[in-house]
């Protein structure tokens, strides 16, 4: 499937120069809360991607008939319905992860990325670009979550997806897991490091310094 340059920008922009987390700085709270392990980070990334993509499509289809004054309520109803479905599916098929994510699945409703995309994109574009936009933003958000979750689980618990990856010999030699990695402040520092690397690669994103 060949994508035109415009759809490509819609889909791939959020992965790099328009990333919701590290450029627009949205969705930080959940990025800090669920990333102490890799598995919940991945599940959260998938859940948000699905919800944003389909909410975008539905709002885009309804965009001509939604009265302007109650559009936030309509968006919330659509998002809440989708989140409930995702939450129920998780509870049925991935109960442990669902418990780890706890309230944060429900809180996807209030995720700034979701509301932002519905307001800024879906209300003014057709269903297909809206769908791509949702997928792109979900993936852009998910990519950061997975990177942060990877480092936090590796350095904080010495495991990846629950499997030990740090050799026992290293522990015997005196290595210890870093407890700070399991706390939220380290997640924000890791996000900051990603922003640091990203900004130094994309000089046009750097703010003016005085």
């Amino acid at each position: 499937m060949a994508l035109s340059s415009k759809t490509k920008a819609v889909l791939l922009g959020p992965l790099n120069k328009n990333n919701p987390v590290i450029v627009q700085v949205l969705g930080i709270c959940s990025a800090l809360a669920v990333t102490s392990k890799l598995e919940p980070s991945i599940v959260m990334a998938i859940a948000v991607t699905i919800v944003v993509a389909f909410a975008n499509v539905i709002i885009s289809l309804l965009r001509k008939s939604i009265p302007n004054r109650i559009r936030i309520i309509v968006q919330l109803v659509v998002a809440a319905a989708l989140v409930t479905i995702v939450s129920e599916v998780l509870a049925a098929f991935a109960y442990d992860v669902n418990k780890q994510l706890s309230v944060f699945v429900g809180l996807i409703v209030t995720n700034c990325i979701l509301m932002g995309r519905l307001e800024a994109f879906a209300l003014g574009n057709g269903p297909w670009p809206s769908f791509l936009d949702g997928i792109g933003n979900g993936l852009g958000y998910g990519a950061i979550l997975i990177v942060v979750g990877f480092f936090r689980e590796l350095l904080g618990s010495g495991t990846l997806l629950g499997y030990p990856v740090i050799p026992q010999g290293l522990y015997d030699a005196g290595y210890e897991n870093n407890g700070l990695m399991m706390l939220a402040p380290m997640a924000i520092l890791l996000v900051a490091c990603i922003i640091w690397v990203h900004r130094s690669k994309n000089k046009e994103l750097q703010e003016e310094t005085n």
């Binding site: 005196g174 290595y175 210890e176 870093n178 407890g179 700070l180 990695m181 706390l183 520092l189 640091w196």
Partner: protein, 402 residues
């Protein structure tokens, strides 16, 4: 001196523009200005110059830290030989402690200065002098048995994230040495608290081998009172590591388990005299920390419920890092309040918070680190309101006389 100056002048051309070692100019400059007061003057504006530049200031702080460091080293040996039940000479104890602490100092300096030099070289700037003091503070505020790699990781973390990202020496919001300790404290709690880390029981480079005697307990006095079952202070007694009772003079001279720098209140006071006499440390900050502590202790004493709430104020000042933090950490000129009235407020709240954390949070037997870091964050705000109040007062005066 002359020979050194001559040698520096001889090798200088190698580092200047066009020389083959020009890429190392920042490193050369750092050493030259470290050894000799630079003779350059500012080209613009009006400046008053003093030979006491920041490198000289830092060296005075290090001088002030030396007594506490030496007593701390002696105490490491003293506690060690007590724990293994051997009688040795004064010098053996000191030498054991010296060998135990030296690697930590070396690691902290190598890692911290390494990052500083690399950063300065990369940015083609002068090497800033801030790490001279930080490097010696770090080994003095961590337990003697902290593994070297942890010190290395924590130092690197603190220098990069607490200092370099803010713009280097003079721009950091938080005290770099305390960030190092906070990183260690939250990352590796088992190596930073409890009763196993404060006394070195293993041998150092083969020196002081021996099995730990029966009845040994390495808990610090503050750790003991935080976990005591005793309902009031009169039923409670501080014990040394072999179960012997600890007197107030032990606490004052520094013969108790604890971090290297903090144990000897006498040596810390000596440092305070040096800092105040040379004008490097602010006596206002120091005094107000103690006043804040005093107020907090008197408050909790007056409605005491348990042993630690009843603990008299002089124990609070002698034990743990209270005195060390007040003299050497709270007075850090970069991270503390800069206005004179601000220093009173800043110090007072540090003392108040430190005692509050000690008394009410059994998870943290010592509250000085967290109190100072917390107030570091508020120092700019305090300064802002002090200056703002001053401006308002003067404005009022100006309009009245119209």
């Amino acid at each position: 001196m002359k020979a050194l100056r001559k040698y520096l002048d001889k090798i200088k051309p190698n580092f200047e523009e066009g020389g083959k070692l020009h890429w190392l100019y920042s490193t050369y400059d750092a050493f030259e200005t470290f050894l000799f007061v630079p003779n350059t003057t500012s080209k613009s504006g009006v400046h008053i110059h003093d030979a006491r530049d920041s490198k000289r200031t830092m060296i005075i702080v290090i001088l002030a830290l030396i007594p506490a460091l030496l007593v701390g080293m002696y105490n490491v040996g003293l506690q060690h030989y007590m724990a293994i039940g051997q009688e040795v000479t004064f010098l053996t104890r000191f030498f054991y402690g010296f060998l135990a602490v030296l690697p930590q100092i070396v690691v902290s300096y190598v890692v911290g200065l390494g990052i500083e030099f690399a950063m300065a070289q990369m940015k083609k700037e002068e090497v800033a002098e801030g790490f001279l003091v930080t490097g010696i503070l770090i080994p003095m505020i961590v337990p003697v048995d902290t593994p070297l790699w942890m010190i290395a990781v924590a130092t690197a973390f603190a220098v990069i994230f607490a200092k370099e990202v803010f713009g280097g020496t003079g721009y950091n919001i938080f005290n770099v040495a305390l960030i190092t300790r906070a990183f260690l404290f939250f990352s590796y709690p088992s190596k930073m608290s409890g009763d196993q880390v404060w006394v070195r029981t293993a041998d150092t480079f083969g020196m002081g081998k021996g099995a730990v005697i029966d009845g040994y307990s390495g808990a610090t006095p503050l750790g003991q009172i935080a976990t005591t079952e005793a309902g009031n202070f009169s039923d409670f007694a501080f014990n040394g590591i072999t179960g012997q009772p600890l007197s107030l003079s032990d606490m004052f001279f520094g013969f108790i388990p604890g971090s290297i720098g903090e144990v000897s209140t006498l040596a810390i006071l000596l440092g305070a005299v040096i800092l105040i006499a040379s004008g490097v440390g602010s006596w206002k900050t120091m005094l107000s920390v103690f006043i804040g502590g005093l107020v907090a202790v008197l408050l909790v004493n007056s409605f005491a419920q348990n042993a630690i709430m009843e603990m008299p104020v002089y124990y609070h000042f002698l034990l743990g890092g209270f005195a060390f933090g007040a003299i050497f950490m709270a007075t850090d000129p970069v991270t503390s309040a800069r206005t004179e009235r601000g220093k009173w407020i800043y110090g007072f709240l540090i003392g108040l918070l430190a005692i509050t954390i000690r008394v009410f949070n059994p998870g943290y037997p010592e509250g000085m680190m967290l109190a100072i870091l917390f107030m570091n964050a508020f120092a700019p705000l305090i300064d802002f309101y002090v200056i703002d109040a001053n401006i308002k007062r003067r404005m009022k005066r100006a309009t009245v006389t119209k």
